[in-house]
Symmetry: C2
Subunit: 446 residues, 2 copies
């Protein structure tokens, strides 16, 4: 027997206001309930493909309105999560991430309206060709089907993920963490209820009310109902999904991002980019973690860099050559540091013989996320971009630009560290699949 | 202790002629050996990105020449497999699939030359945009990296898969079945040896010499070295890989393909297409398995269809309405028949009320592979193509056209039943990933 926070047939009609009550269910009952939700999500997906862009946008606006209309209910539910968080002694930062208020709720609704305003990638003709036998082959962008989102803490992921998936014609099965369960259920219910009044098929947006670990496992195994799982959270969560899932998983792993300062660099530009990439928002995956500096310019560049980093309050883990030249205090870098995502005002720095060593180091210790070269040598920059095996490789720009918004995608569901299907910023187009339509006049194969 | 057919340090230099000897190794020794091959494949992949299209094509031609040059060695090794096959009592059909002879080997070499002649998708610019801040973002097609191919019986998969993966700049780790192990090793060694003389990086094409089941598991778990696994074989093999793999798997599952004969069909065309789709090559995944017929035309169409099927030697599993009208003997169809891939001269047939029932039936019982509607009603055909959730949906054409060659892809590594990354025929472009190159002039994020 495992504890489920609540389960009620009312979940089948999420437009109802839930009355939550803790009940215990057996694991096989939980599994059956999750399978039933999957089956209904699949049915919803078949209905969703019939909606036009205009219908989908109308539904998104109705969802946003409903979030605002249900403000008091959602905040009441959120208060339950906050109460439990306080009782469980969660950190102030964690509690802040959980907290909703009228202003934040308005921003959540506004984000859904912004998704309505984005262009719809579904139906786009990607390729078309007529074969010698007269067959017309059209490759068209279509929804993926049913997408599972497994996420932690922040309740706004519920609405962000569901609205992006819905905009692209996908049904969603959401499974959030226990910290935000009441908020998540209330938000998902508002999306479904508001949407349904505007024509949203039943069960298009469902939130799984079980927050124990086995529910992740049940989701990850039901590849008959889920076409894709996107885990949004820490490495532990992603690992758990990857090791269990039978369906494709798009992963948003760590970013161990590099800036390589080549001997032909504009050194002022290099320092500006390093400071920006490290300090503008240190806690995100496209923030800088390791600087590589050509030995030839170490004597001139390190003292400048040391001053700038010290002024910005950045602690330095450096190799012996860098330590000798930075002119500010630093710790000796360990082997482990080269693979560390600091997510903090800490930077690793290493001296290299030249581009070959830099590229080899990045491909070995990096996470294939985002890396940048600073140089005036255009041919070298091209070689670096070609040989560094990362999703985004920049020349003379900050690593912080690996971002759906900065790419002009309008919205992103994350930054993929995978190489299949989606790599780098994952926007609406990456939430789609494609199919081939073939039009003939009786052709048979010889 | 598990039995390995052979293992020798000579594998590191596959250009040597192997002397096979059965040795027993512990499972952890096998695991270590497979990991070592993976690590070397990853290193090879970093070298492969440096090759130009011309270099790759020269290498492919050298590989083809080497296959012909090593004819007697390869046929000697093949004879060992055939001997064991006979001793193990394999069927005549199985033995035929295993058999190589000078003519077949020439065809294998020729297939490699044809891959050299295909256009190279690597380096293609897929999108390019300049952002308001001046950043130039280029989305470019690049190799995936290291691809694992797990396959059964036919030795030509070794050369087909390796040459397609190499053309797209990927390193391959091949793991074939025990029936063809000597042939597979000889072929992979010829590819690597011939290629190396023309500049192929070491370890670009490696064949795993272990054929026990645990070797599949070791491969499927080493996501640090393998970016993708493509299993080519029966459902059991694919299931095994799917349930173990930590990296993306592109699956080539069954094709339970349908032809839906709408009341507005040209009935002669419908019968021609059904006969072609069912009988032209019944043992393949894009062959027809189930026919759906509108009730309104059942009385006129079934008798014609019955005659044509009987004349073609096709056994029929039919619903009661069809049984009553076909005018030829048939068996009653069971619920299980609707989901069965016959791969033989057997056809299921069902009477439906109209397009809604046909679409629902296909989405429920089909395998999302290939389905066709026969109708003169263009609007209905569009609706069918839109709502049937399959990789390829045809109008007035045979299901047999879901094929890379028929699409003009030049070659295919299989027909994907997945919705992520590759759906339908998987050609060279689908053996590629992409990356973003960003060119700036010192941009930092505000």
């Amino acid at each position: 027997m495992v504890e489920a926070p609540f389960f009620s047939p009312a979940l089948r009609r999420p437009s109802h206001v839930f009355s939550f009550s803790d009940r215990s269910m057996t694991d096989s009952e939980i599994q059956a309930a999750i399978h039933d939700m999957g089956r209904r999500a699949r049915a919803a997906a078949h209905e969703l493909v019939k909606l036009s862009t205009a219908q989908k946008n109308t539904i998104l606006l109705a969802m946003a309105d409903e979030i605002e209309a249900q403000e008091s209910h959602i905040l009441t539910e959120n208060a339950k999560d906050l109460e439990r968080a306080a009782a469980n002694g969660l950190s102030k930062a964690m509690i802040d991430r959980l907290t909703l208020d009228p202003k934040r709720l308005k921003a959540i609704a506004q984000a859904v309206r912004e998704v309505a305003a984005l262009p719809d990638p579904v139906g786009e003709v990607l390729e078309q060709r007529t074969r010698p036998n007269g067959l017309l082959i059209t490759k068209k962008r279509v929804p993926i089907g049913v997408i599972g989102i497994i996420f932690e803490s922040r309740p706004n992921v519920t609405t962000d993920a569901a609205s992006l998936c819905f905009k692209t014609g996908n049904a969603t099965l959401l499974r959030g963490g226990s910290e935000a369960i009441h908020s998540n259920v209330a938000l998902a219910a508002a999306l479904q209820a508001g949407g349904e009044r505007a024509g949203l098929p039943a069960d298009s947006v469902q939130l799984i009310p079980f927050t124990d670990r086995s529910s992740v496992e049940h989701m990850a195994k039901m590849d008959q109902y889920l076409d894709l799982i996107i885990p949004r959270g820490g490495k532990g969560l992603i690992e758990k999904v990857v090791s269990t899932a039978r369906m494709p998983v798009i992963k948003h792993y760590d970013g161990v991002c590099h800036v390589y300062v080549n001997r032909e660099a504009d050194q002022t530009m290099a320092a500006d980019i390093i400071i920006n990439a490290k300090t503008q928002k240190p806690g995100v995956c496209n923030a800088l973690e390791t600087v590589l500096v050509d030995r030839e310019i170490a004597a001139t560049f390190y003292p400048v860099l040391g001053q700038r980093l010290a002024a910005a309050g950045v602690a330095i883990h450096a190799d012996p050559e860098a330590q000798a030249q930075l002119g500010v205090p630093s710790e000796p870098a360990t082997e482990q540091d080269w693979g560390t995502e600091w997510l903090d005002l800490i930077l690793s720095t290493k001296t290299v013989a030249g581009p070959d060593e830099a590229i080899t180091h990045i491909n070995r210790y990096g996470s294939h996320h985002t890396d940048s070269i600073i140089t005036r040598d255009r041919a070298l920059a091209e070689r670096f971009q070609h040989e560094v095996d990362s999703a985004v490789v920049l020349h003379n720009a900050s690593t912080r630009f690996n971002d759906g918004g900065e790419f002009g995608f309008g919205a992103e569901i994350g930054i993929s560290t995978d190489k299949l299907h989606a790599r780098g910023p994952m926007g609406l187009a990456e939430l789609c699949s494609y199919k081939y339509l073939i039009d003939g006049s009786g052709q048979v194969r010889q």
